[in-house]
């Protein structure tokens, strides 16, 4: 292998690719060529660094200089100054990576990374995901080698059990136990599947792992195959993830070429291969029985359990299904031992969890933290707080199956049980921050709208019940809410939870229940006062002119499309609420900030 004196890591994750990182890579190569240092400096396209907010991100080693929001035009300067002359271009560094005394902080000292701990995400942003040798160089496939040559399947299962690892797909089922069930299920043909259907509408952890470190999932599946006695794997991945699909395809081909998939792996007689299956845009296919139906080429409708997939899964054979992030934890557990893993986290939740932090927060992106970290630490220390000096209102976790956690529970430690206690759930890792400008009734409606359109329609409680709930919420946000609506919602929720066939329906009412639990006053304001306290629900908004601020210039009246504003020059104008169609034009036009939404 050639030795390079510097490495330029350019993020090739989805966020940074969207903001133009491909052009930046080309430009680096071009400039390095120009300066004749192409054999001294290596440009690597990596997976997501986590801080997508400030992308495109470029990190230059050995200094660890963290350049943010880089444009193609900036590249010549970085090459000339930094890579040729050895002077870091401070102007382009991520603001938080320059200390007060102007020295450069190392990455782990930057606020965003300081409290993080990377296990599942260990190679993302570190290696080139399209090059198997880079994965091997960071101990890749060593765990598979160890398992095949030194351990029995039972020992592997014991190790995973002892580590305390629980499923990262949402429900938190103990992984080792699931492996054991699948191993013990009778049958000579078994399958290992990976759930990469990432359904939570505001989350992309699994996507980033597949894009940044596809081999870790492949290696873990092979380990699982050995442990449960399967020779065939399927990765069910969303078709909306083209970069992930491409990198997985490359990774599988490379693993076959290196003899790490296929027949007689490591000369041990163990056979295992993996095939990709693409989803086609149905959230319910994240549910395990629906996912298996879809792999078989049927409509992705859930079926009652038992029988569980461990007994009767894909093609009616015993099947192990785990989530992407769950798999990504496996190789380090094998290499470093279960004690190491179980020393991290809380009593009942071990290891780390990756979250997709988004919404009204300064640092949006992916964060991986040890279990037990508090929400407050994530929001303020890692996330950098709420933009614009606004107030934190709630954190939404668990996507359409979860709930909103309000400010009074900000000190809740991250673990499966505590989240359930405060009326939400861990979910797969979406973490959306909401501020005072977010309407909680509107958010509940948003999630319910999502579940209604994603319900497969197989069972009436979900198909009809959630629809009824949505109708009530629609009524409330459009100002036609009635006394008793909250109680009706609660009753419907209770019945749906008790009688729906699959997890989608059983959890669909959660966003409504948790917002009623913590923000009942907002529901009441909508229903009784026909008022949206956050100023979001269009139908409840009123545009008014503040007399003290109005200069009587008449600009608003001239721009109102329906002639709702009247007045005399140089005296305060006023808006006729019956005529106003709430287009907001007047507010945009007024130069004196005299028009307010209420």
């Amino acid at each position: 292998m050639e030795l390079y004196r510097a490495h330029v890591l350019v993020c090739g994750g989805t966020g940074c690719t969207s903001s133009g990182s491909a052009g930046i890579i080309d430009k680096f190569n071009e400039e390095l060529e120009k300066h004749n240092i192409k054999n001294e400096v290596k440009v690597v396209r990596t997976g997501c660094f986590g801080l997508c907010e400030v992308g495109p991100v470029v990190i230059v080693y050995p200094e660890g200089a963290f350049y943010s929001r880089i444009k193609v035009e900036d590249v010549p300067e970085i090459v000339e100054e930094h890579l040729v002359k050895g002077r870091i271009v401070k102007r382009l560094l991520y603001h938080d990576s320059v200390a007060e005394d102007q020295t450069i902080k190392s990455l782990d000292e930057v606020g965003f990374y300081k409290k993080q701990m990377r296990i599942a995400f260990r190679n993302c942003g570190v290696i080139d995901p399209e090059n198997i040798e880079e994965y091997i160089a960071v101990d890749g496939y060593k765990a598979l080698g160890k398992v095949l040559t030194e351990m029995t399947p039972e020992q592997v299962i014991e190790t995973i059990k002892a580590s305390g690892l629980r499923g990262r797909g949402g429900a938190g089922f103990p992984t080792g136990l699931k492996w054991e069930f699948t191993r013990k299920a009778p049958g000579d043909k078994k399958y290992v599947c990976c759930n990469a259907d990432e359904g939570d509408p505001g989350a992309f952890m699994d996507r980033s792992i597949l894009e940044g470190d596809p081999h870790s999932v492949i290696e873990a599946m092979a380990i699982a195959g050995y442990a449960v006695g399967a020779d065939q794997g399927y990765i069910y991945v969303r078709a909306e993830y083209p970069i992930a699909v491409k990198r997985l395809t490359i990774a599988i081909a490379q693993a076959r070429e290196y003899g790490l998939l296929g027949k007689d792996i490591f000369g041990t007689g163990f056979n295992f291969d993996i095939e990709l299956r693409l989803g086609a845009g149905a959230f319910v296919c994240g549910e395990e029985t629906a996912l298996m139906a879809s792999i078989e080429g049927r409509r992705g409708e859930p079926r009652p359990r038992p029988p569980f997939p461990a007994v009767k899964g894909v093609f009616s054979k015993p099947t192990l299904l785990n989530n992407v992030e769950t798999y990504a934890n496996i190789p380090p557990i094998i290499l470093k031992g279960p004690e190491w893993f179980s020393s991290i986290g809380t009593e009942r939740s071990k290891g780390t969890k990756v979250f997709a932090l988004g919404g009204k927060i300064n640092n949006t992106g992916l964060v991986e933290v040890p279990m037990g970290t508090t929400l407050r630490e994530i929001v303020y220390d890692i996330g950098g707080g709420i933009p614009g000096g606004k107030k934190f209102k709630a954190a939404q976790t668990g996507g359409p199956s979860g709930g909103c956690i309000p400010a009074e529970h900000l000190d809740t430690p991250i673990d499966y049980e505590s989240f359930i206690q405060v009326g939400s759930m861990m979910g797969s890792g979406g973490l959306i921050i909401m501020d005072e400008d977010t309407c909680m009734v509107d958010i509940a409606r948003f999630f319910l709208d999502f579940t209604v359109s994603e319900s497969c329609g197989k069972c009436p409680p979900c198909r009809i019940g959630t629809k009824r709930m949505l109708e009530i919420l629609d009524r409330i946000v459009s100002g036609k809410g009635q006394e008793g609506d909250i109680e009706k919602l609660e009753l419907l929720a209770k019945n749906i939870k008790a009688s729906a066939l699959c997890g989608l329906g059983q959890t669909a009412p959660n966003p409504v229940l948790s917002t009623i639990r913590y923000f009942r006053d907002e529901y009441e304001a909508h229903i009784r006062e026909k008022r949206c306290p956050a100023g979001v629900c269009q139908a409840l908004l009123r545009y008014v002119i503040v007399a003290e601020l109005c200069k009587g210039c008449g600009l608003c009246a001239r721009n109102c499309p329906v002639g709702a504003i009247s007045g005399e020059p140089r005296k305060p104008y006023s808006i006729d609420p019956d005529k106003c169609i709430k287009c907001g034009v007047c507010m945009e036009k007024c130069r004196f900030n005299a028009i307010k939404k209420q």
Binding site: G13, T14, G15, T17, S18, S19, L51, C52, E53, V54, G55, E198, G199, D200, P201, G202, A203, F204, R207, S208, A239, E240, Y241, P242, R277, L278, G279, A280, G281, A282, F283, S294, I295, E296, G297, R298, R299, G300, E301, F315, A356, G358, G359, K360, T364, G365, Q396, G399, G430, I432, M434, T438, I443, F446, F447, C456
Partner: protein, 162 residues
């Protein structure tokens, strides 16, 4: 009846036949075949479904059932430019609904529809993995981030003139 898409373009048909051959013997071939068919023909018209049913020796109702279950499959051709506005949670909280409303207004179509000239199809999508840039929309493979409703008009104009 209109000309069958199968015989209309020989090259595409040949390509599709190869796909069927490739998957025919495998386990659970229907989804990948439908996906490839849509890639090749742009949509899953009835004659394409019929052909698949015959080749795989399964009832057409099975094919139709699957083709209509998944949001990604379409029985009607889509516009030249597919606009997908992200209504994922992060984007929604940051106001992507307003962007979508603006697009419906400008294009004068509803979500899921295609403009009469066949140029634009408007869709709402889930998280595109670019929450850092929220609110986000995609036009074919290009991602536009940090959008404001005001920006939309200019972006669409670029495609209209092409």
């Amino acid at each position: 009846m209109a000309v069958s898409v199968l015989t209309e373009n020989k090259e595409k048909f040949e390509e599709f036949k190869k796909v069927i051959e490739e998957y025919k013997g495998k386990e659970g071939p229907l989804m990948p075949i439908l996906q490839k068919a849509q890639e090749i023909f742009g949509c899953l018209s009835l004659d394409v479904q019929n052909y698949i049913a015959e080749e795989l020796n399964i009832p057409i109702t099975d094919v139709y059932g699957v083709a209509t279950f998944y949001a990604q499959f379409t029985l009607k051709p889509k516009g030249k430019y597919k606009i997908g506005v992200c209504l994922g949670t992060a984007c929604y909280v940051k106001g992507s609904q307003k962007v979508l409303d603006k697009l419906q207004e400008i294009l004068n179509i509803k979500v899921g529809d295609t403009t009469d000239d066949g140029k634009f199809t408007l869709e709402a999508t889930r998280c595109l993995g670019a929450c850092g840039l929220a609110p986000v929309m995609m036009i074919n493979d290009h991602v536009y981030g940090r959008l404001k409703p005001e920006d939309v008009e200019g972006i669409i104009a670029k495609y209209r003139d092409e």
